[in-house]
Amino acid sequence: MEENKKFTISVYTENSVGLLNRVSAIFLKRHINIESMTVSKSEIDHVHRFTFVVIVPETLAQKVVKQLEKQIEVIRAFYHTEEEIIYQETAMFKLSTEFLYDEKIQNKLKLRRAHIVTITKNFFIIETTGLKEDIDRLYDKLKPYGLMQFVRSGRIAITRPKMAISELINNVN
């Protein structure tokens, strides 16, 4: 059996309603669990970019990418290993204002380069950006203070290798 690895799949698409359904169905059909997903615009006008993180054997990642590319409104799809990308996630923590001056929290925030984005009478909000592991560590540290809310974004990633989408589009146009 081929071993599972973590892959980041980037999918450049036209901006069209319903495409999310079509694209996610390809993962669903093969029972692939999507670890995280982000949709945003891309470096090209009117072109969207989906970023999926999956843990699968490499041959499966290849097959999925080809099936994604087969969809009419998918311009190109790529998969990358952890080494080929620079990636980040963002998280927000909501805590009670009673801990605002807690020294331990202050230190942790400095260490993690996290910062406070909002303070109100009852709560304050911490935001941090980093690797999933960094965020997990901060989460573990803050959990004992009674997190009022926690949320984390999907992974966003920039690849080291080129993904020549603009050229591709220009060729067709």
Binding site: G18, N21, A25, E69, K70
Partner: protein, 577 residues
């Protein structure tokens, strides 16, 4: 409603015509060369039907008796003509009834455009009367789909729909049109779609791959070709024949590849797959180079992948990159339009005879003949066999008929024994295995090829899944020949129950109606054959008739189809009994 507007720019006088969305739909169909479509009306698509009424001398709408029938008829038409089939239905149940046909077209790569009506756009998402999310439902089974909520989108979207359905690897497209978009008006301009920036229908040819493939083929001692429907869809029958005649490579077809090469061609070594021929199945595991052309290594073709052609180097010609290495690891992948790739490779190939190797196919054919074919075609027992019915059909049709088969044992007998002289003559539901396909598909096929004999070969089970389409035959007078091979069982399932479930015949025995009376109720000439001596004459009579004809042949109840590769077994474990 026509208004003439002068556009100031560039001194060109263009006539801008304000028409309704529904009239625009009809005009788009005419622009795409559609002459015939199949469908069923209802509330949400009434404006389009109203226009169909006005345009009835230009565009012929065939009313089926169920939307599934409309989809299969469009498929039959598409498969026999190579053109895009069109089916139409109302929202809600009309649209969902199309889904089986759409799924069938998707898995068998049939070009089809389905147009469904939808509730008014202000009602979308409100669970309105006959609202279903047909876009959501059809997404996994369409090549593309789109919901039009604004009349002005109609020309561009329909142009795209036809382009996508027919280009590259063909497939079904569904366009859902809200009722308000049908009523609203637009300035109609039609421009055919020729490219979509995110869609590359035909991959570029890589000459290195062509050369690599040619080198492998030239040094092969025991090469074997498996060809699929890609040859037919790519209109590459001539190029393919030239290739095999130069190289003398034994060539076997898949179920859907059948008829791409005349069955009597000396290099045609039969069909691969679960009930395919003994020789090509066995020798798949003995060839040194396996050349797959326009086929997709379906599990019904390969049996157990862990013991499929492991000794062979595999060359795969296909138009769809996602098929490469999907099931079988290839040595060389030749991507591109097969009509071009075969032309490119031909001059690089050396002539060969492969005499000894071809003999091996002949030897195994003789074994299959003695233990299976002889008994199927020239039975000595009293009961009639499905095989001999096919043999008699061949005698009269001489291989020139279009054979439309349903799903089950009769389908396998039809595919094993029907003779085909021309391409696009075998129409069957392959990938989806949809019972009920044949009768409506035969109606579509007959309308697509009116000069040809179209014979539907159907089991008593599948016949009753779309039997209401006899009404379509009655109303259109489509002279289809319907042969029901009645074994009073869901035969194929019964066969499995016999072989793998200790003969526990759970819900496979059928108490059937009097099919002759039913045919007569639809004013279709009908005959029942129960004895061998009546068979040949009955088939001659059926094919001599200018009208639709129904023939029921009561066959042996518990016959089995062999050879057979049991599920999970290897192609080399193909059983003869």
């Amino acid at each position: 409603m026509e208004t003439q507007i002068e556009t100031k720019s560039k001194h060109i006088k263009t006539k801008e015509i304000k028409i309704s969305g529904s009239e625009a739909v009809i005009k788009c169909l005419l622009e795409e060369g559609v002459e015939l479509l199949y469908g069923y009306p209802g509330g949400a698509i009434m404006p389009i039907y109203d226009e169909l009424y006005k345009y009835q001398d230009k565009l012929h709408h065939v009313l089926t008796r169920h939307e599934q029938g409309a989809a299969h008829a469009a498929q039959g038409y598409a498969r026999v003509t190579g053109r895009v089939g069109v089916a139409m239905a109302t929202s809600g149940p009309g649209a969902t009834n199309l889904v089986t046909g759409i799924a069938d077209a998707q898995i068998d790569s049939t070009p089809m455009v389905c147009i469904t009506g939808q509730v008014g756009s202000h009602l979308l998402g409100s669970d309105a009367f006959q609202e279903t999310d047909i876009i959501g439902i059809s997404t996994p089974v369409t090549k593309w789909n789109y919901q039009i909520t604004d009349a002005s989108e109609i020309p561009e979207i329909l142009a795209k729909a036809f382009y996508i359905a027919r280009s590259g690897r063909p497939g079904p497209v569904l366009i859902d049109i809200t009722k308000d978009a049908q009523f609203d008006t637009l300035d109609f301009h039609y421009k055919k779609c020729t490219a979509i920036r995110s869609y590359r229908p035909v991959p570029e040819i890589d000459m290195n791959q062509i050369e690599a493939a040619a080198n492998l083929i030239n040094i092969a001692k025991k090469p074997m070709i498996v060809f699929g429907q890609g040859i037919i869809l790519g209109k590459a029958e001539k190029e393919f024949t030239a290739l095999i005649e130069k190289t003398n490579i034994p060539s076997a077809c898949t179920l859907l590849g059948l008829s791409a090469l005349p069955t009597e061609h000396p290099l045609h070594v039969g069909m691969v797959g679960m009930h395919g021929n003994y020789a090509p199945n066995k020798l798949t595991n003995e060839c040194d180079v396996l050349i797959a052309i326009g086929m997709r290594f379906d599990d019904r073709v390969t049996g157990n992948l862990n013991s499929y052609a492991k000794q062979a180097k595999v060359i795969h010609f296909d138009i769809d990159p996602s098929e490469i290495d999907k099931n079988v690891q290839t040595e060389v992948a030749v991507l591109g339009n097969v009509k071009q790739t075969l032309v490119e490779i031909l001059p690089l190939l050396q002539e060969n005879t492969h005499e000894k190797w071809l003999q091996e196919f002949k030897k195994l054919y003789d074994i299959e003949y003695e233990s299976v074919i002889k008994n199927d075609l020239f039975p000595v027992k009293e009961g009639l066999t499905m095989g001999e019915v096919m043999k008699e059909i061949n005698t009269v049709s001489k291989g020139d008929a279009v054979i439309v088969s349903d799903v089950g044992q009769h389908q396998m007998f039809a595919s094993r024994y029907a003779k085909f002289n021309q391409t696009k003559s075998n129409i069957t539901s392959g990938g989806l295995g949809t019972m009920g396909f044949a009768l409506p598909a035969a109606i579509g096929a007959k309308m697509g090829a009116p000069q040809r004999d179209v014979i539907a070969v159907i089991g008593d089970g599948g016949y009753q899944m779309t039997i209401q389409e006899l009404g379509t035959v009655l109303q259109t007078k489509a002279p289809v020949k319907i042969v029901v091979l009645n074994n009073e069982f869901l035969g194929m399932v019964r066969q499995w129950q016999q072989l793998f479930f200790d003969k526990r015949y759970a819900s496979t025995e059928m108490t059937n109606p009097d099919f002759i009376t039913i045919a007569k109720g639809y004013h279709i000439a009908a005959e029942r054959v129960t004895k061998r001596e009546e068979l040949a004459v009955a088939i001659q009579k059926m094919l001599a008739s200018d009208e639709a004809y129904f023939l029921e042949v009561c066959v042996e109840k518990e016959d089995n189809v062999f050879p057979m590769i049991p599920t999970g077994a290897s192609v080399s474990e193909v059983r003869l009994s």
